[in-house]
Amino acid sequence: MGEPAALRTTRSGDVGARTSPSGLPRERGTIGSSIAVRDAVKRYGSFHAVDRISIDIEPGEFITLLGPSGSGKTTLLNLVAGFQSLDSGEILVDGKPVHNVPTHKRGFGMVFQSYALFPNMTVSQNVAFPLRMAGVDRATTDRRVAETLEIMRLTEHATKSPSQMSGGQQQRVAIARAIVRRPRVVLMDEPLSALDRRLRESIQIEIRDLHRTIGSTILFVTHDQGEALTMSDRIAVLNAGKIVQIGRPLDIYRHPTDRFVASFVGESNLIEAEILQKRGSTLTMKNRAGYVFSAESRDTIDVGRATVLVRPERIAVSNEPTANSTPVSVTSAIFLGEILRIEAHMEGGEPLLIRCTDMADRPLPSVGDRLHVSWGAADCWVLA
């Protein structure tokens, strides 16, 4: 075997603008592989951890598996990594099946939640590990390790042992180890969840930038929807071993396909309403409190009842009644800095969550206050 494919920095054919099915223009060169999972099944006894999942990942894409614990996202990652074997189905990398290839021959990079740095090696030995395993010669190894440490701003820590470093530094070392070989695929298993918020945000940006520079395909697992929204090209939302929706962050947030996605990604009001009439794609609806509003729908529903998603920040609030508003009574109001978070009841008793920017001329509402809220057709999304 010559120099591993993973070490070739670019493939000329992939350079240049093109459009992926995910709708993102790709203006960068990529070394990333495509990954295709077909009908993957993994059972533990009668429990289906991964239940016939299929997913196509573009070369060089940053894709996030998002879901609550137990949704199967980590199992799916472990299947791709090869830590666990499929019960049925297949996994293809660049069109070739890998599900029977042992982990160490798949040529991936991986970042673990617990960092998993080898305690008996220094920082640079840790980073050099994948190259050593690939049989790369000494001089190249030294050069690449130095480069990678430079990228991750770890040069001055090269001779330290991992235990002497802070959590954030350790995670940067783990990332350096994962990318040093310029792998075609980098797997990330909740890499930021052990870090505090500020550090998490700065490493999020670092990982995004890194993804642009190296162009590997990144498969990222998290249960943090905010993280998924900020980092990913596409998000696959998992629940109970199945992918419930896959799409760009904005689509997932604005146009969730069902109640689970709507409530798992972002804060949401799910309002039950009756469809009064349909004109074109515009529905006229009425909720239990008697509030009549219009909503856009792409679906073909035209009669009966439907659930409408109204994001808390899309609700307009005022102290006085306005055209087409409905009164609510405040049950709690929390000042969060730039934003007010208000919980209220509609007339029918339905709870409503509102987020609005703080206004200097208005006092903080107190419990029992009456406010008037409204939303327009563009602010709602009718769930199937």
């Binding site: 075997m1 010559g2 591993p4 494919a5 993973a6 990594a81 090869g82 830590f83 990398v93 660049d94 070739k96 099946p97 890998v98 599900h99 029977n100 290839v101 042992p102 982990t103 160490h104 021959k105 798949r106 040529g107 991936f108 990079g109 991986m110 673990f112 617990s114 998993a116 740095l117 080898f118 305690p119 008996n120 590990f129 994948p130 395993m133 690939a134 783990a174 180890r177 994962a178 070989r181 797997l187």
Partner: protein
């Protein structure tokens, strides 16, 4: 090209299946299981076969129970064992609490005072008591000098010294077992009890004691089972009226009476031991033998154990209320420091009992006197010179070293592989296999020696160095398996995954990640396996020949015929060996303690 190599193996599932099956870690269990089957199970089965080979299957057993000598001795053995286990519990519990409650250097010193004797040969510790209580020993001298006795008397060779000696020998086992259950407790439980208004005594009675009950049970049964098979200590410290059952087996083996009867004696001892262990295992889980936790979550048992637990606890609680509270109220009148002082006093007594004999023997080894006397009239190295210049002693010393090194090598090779198989495979019946691997610990050495003797005769192994080393490895193997499976379970599987995903093959993962992580455990296991063989006496009594004499065998001969300070020299050397080994093993013990307290 890695992208090309990826696809190659994908379309040969049948072959892949075979490869996968050959890579199953369960196969690593095979060498150890084969070894035990041949050298451990087969002889025991043979022993049982011979014991039932009389005119009718029960005829030899009928003889055992018909002769009052054996029946009385059986009853006596039970009495002694229960008393010893009770004494160990009574004094061991406060000592375990003392270790748990002390801090820093004090804790290290107290723990060392308990652990050190645990690893010193029973023969040497018994010899130390003979020195201590002898006619010219320090106890007699002390009693005479303060006027309680007018002249030295015979303190040895009675029931009291047997009980004292056996309790002293087995106390560390009890203390360590209870300590591990005390240390495992969440410290905040006691604090919560105190914060809820329970006094120190009430917190002990209602929280600490009930929660450490399983540990106490395990300790009591381990000591009891060990005591049933005791041979060395009662032989050396007891009088004619203190014959224990195991002693009859060796005596019969010497006088070669009728075959079958001898084996029946062994089977009786084995059956009693196994019955006690089985009953204990039913209630405590068999893990109590090796002080471990369950390897697999046995869900059904956990559930019915739970309901049983509640029933028992409510009964226990009502008993505690009925008897305990009045007592507590009575004790509550005592100053609060009483409990602390009781613990310190009893713990201190235990430490003195464990450490003083060793110190006395070490001092005597430097004596200038030609006979055993304490305090020595002067100091010299004459006994060391005698030991190192005596070719018999030296030959025995080298034999012991060679046998122990070989035995440790066998135990490590088989045990490490078995530990990997136990921890890494998903086979069914893991607990049963672990039980089998560890079971040589509980089989009385006398019975094991007896059963091995006929196997060794058949294969002409009596008196062979390799045979002896293999026999010693039967007992070394459980130590290795227990230590190494604990350290393997402590290895972070994420580290191994990280190595594999970044290109390390499974062998490389083992070499670069797993091996460094279990290195300390491996070193400790090697040392303990070596020490086990180096100290082994009972099997050696059965299996060695006139040409093959180990150090413990020479000691045994001398202890029985002439007590002289050369034995003290050997004892001192052994103590130094154990101290050095413990110093090496200390990091391991520290980490394993950390692991159990988490």
């Amino acid at each position: 090209m890695s992208s090309a190599s990826i696809g190659v193996q994908a379309d040969r599932p049948a072959e892949l299946d075979l490869v996968r099956r050959l890579k199953d870690p369960a196969l690593l269990l095979l060498p150890a299981l084969a070894f035990l089957a041949f050298i451990y199970l087969l002889p025991l089965v043979d022993l049982i076969r011979i014991s039932v080979s009389g005119p009718s299957w029960s005829s030899y057993f009928a003889r055992v129970f018909a002769i009052p000598l054996y029946w009385d001795s059986l009853v006596r053995t039970m009495q002694i064992s229960v008393t010893v286990a009770g004494l160990c519990l009574l004094f061991g519990y406060p000592t375990a609490l003392l270790i748990h409650r002390s801090r820093g250097i004090a804790q290290v010193l107290i723990a060392t005072a308990i652990v050190l004797p645990y690893f010193i040969a029973i023969l040497i510790r018994t010899y130390a008591w003979m020195v201590l209580l002898g006619r010219n020993g320090p106890v007699n001298k002390l009693l005479v000098s303060i006027g309680i006795l007018s002249e030295p008397v015979q303190l040895l060779f009675n029931r009291g010294t047997v009980l004292l000696g056996m309790t002293a020998v087995l106390l560390p086992l009890m203390v360590l077992t209870i300590y591990s259950s005390v240390a495992r407790l969440d410290q905040s439980l006691t604090r919560a009890a105190l914060a809820s208004g329970a006094g120190p005594l009430a917190a002990f009675w209602r929280v600490l004691l009930p929660l450490t009950l399983p540990g106490m049970g395990a300790g009591f049964l381990l000591v009891f089972v060990a005591a049933i098979g005791f041979f060395i200590t009662p032989t050396l410290l007891g009088g004619p009226g203190d014959q224990m059952f195991a002693m009859h087996i060796t005596q019969q083996a010497d006088s070669v009476t009728s075959e079958g009867f001898l084996q029946a004696l062994g089977v009786v001892l084995l059956t009693i031991t196994l019955a006690v262990v089985a009953v204990a295992g039913r209630f405590l889980g068999f893990e109590f033998i090796w002080g471990g936790r369950k390897l697999t979550a046995a869900v059904p048992r956990a559930i019915d154990g739970h309901t049983g637990d509640v029933g028992r606890r409510s009964f226990g609680a009502s008993v505690a209320d009925f008897i305990g509270w009045p007592l507590l109220r009575l004790f509550g009148r005592l100053p609060a420091s009483c409990g602390t002082w009781t613990v310190r006093l009893m713990g201190g007594l235990v430490i003195a009992i464990l450490i003083l004999p060793i110190i006395v023997v070490m001092i005597i080894s430097f004596s200038s006197a030609s006979y055993l006397t304490f305090p020595p009239p002067g100091f010299s190295l004459r006994w060391y010179e005698q030991f190192f210049s005596d070719s018999n002693w030296m030959r025995a010393f080298w034999t012991s070293l060679v046998v122990a090194a070989m035995s440790a090598a066998i135990a490590i090779a088989l045990g490490a592989s078995a530990a990997l198989g136990i921890v890494r495979s998903n086979i069914r019946g893991k607990s049963a296999i672990m039980l089998l691997l560890v079971s040589p610990i509980i089989v009385p050495p006398v019975v094991l020696g007896l059963s091995l003797y006929s196997l060794f005769l058949r294969f002409d192994l009596v008196g062979s160095v390799f045979g002896l080393a293999a026999a010693h490895a039967i007992g070394g193997l459980p130590l290795v398996v227990v230590i190494l499976s604990a350290s393997l379970q402590g290895v972070d599987s994420r580290l191994e995954q990280a190595a594999a995903v970044h290109g390390a093959s499974s062998l490389t993962v083992f070499r670069l990640v797993t091996l460094p992580a279990i290195m300390l455990g491996l070193a400790a296991a090697t040392f303990f396996a070596f020490l086990h063989s180096f100290d082994e006496l009972v099997l050696t009594l059965f299996l060695s020949s006139a040409e093959l004499k180990t150090l413990p065998l020479m000691l045994w001969g001398d202890v029985n015929y002439r007590l002289n300070p050369v034995l003290a020299v050997v004892s001192t050397l052994e103590v130094l060996l154990v101290v050095a080994g413990l110093a090496l093993a200390r990091p391991v013990l520290a980490t394993s303690r950390k692991a159990t307290s988490q």
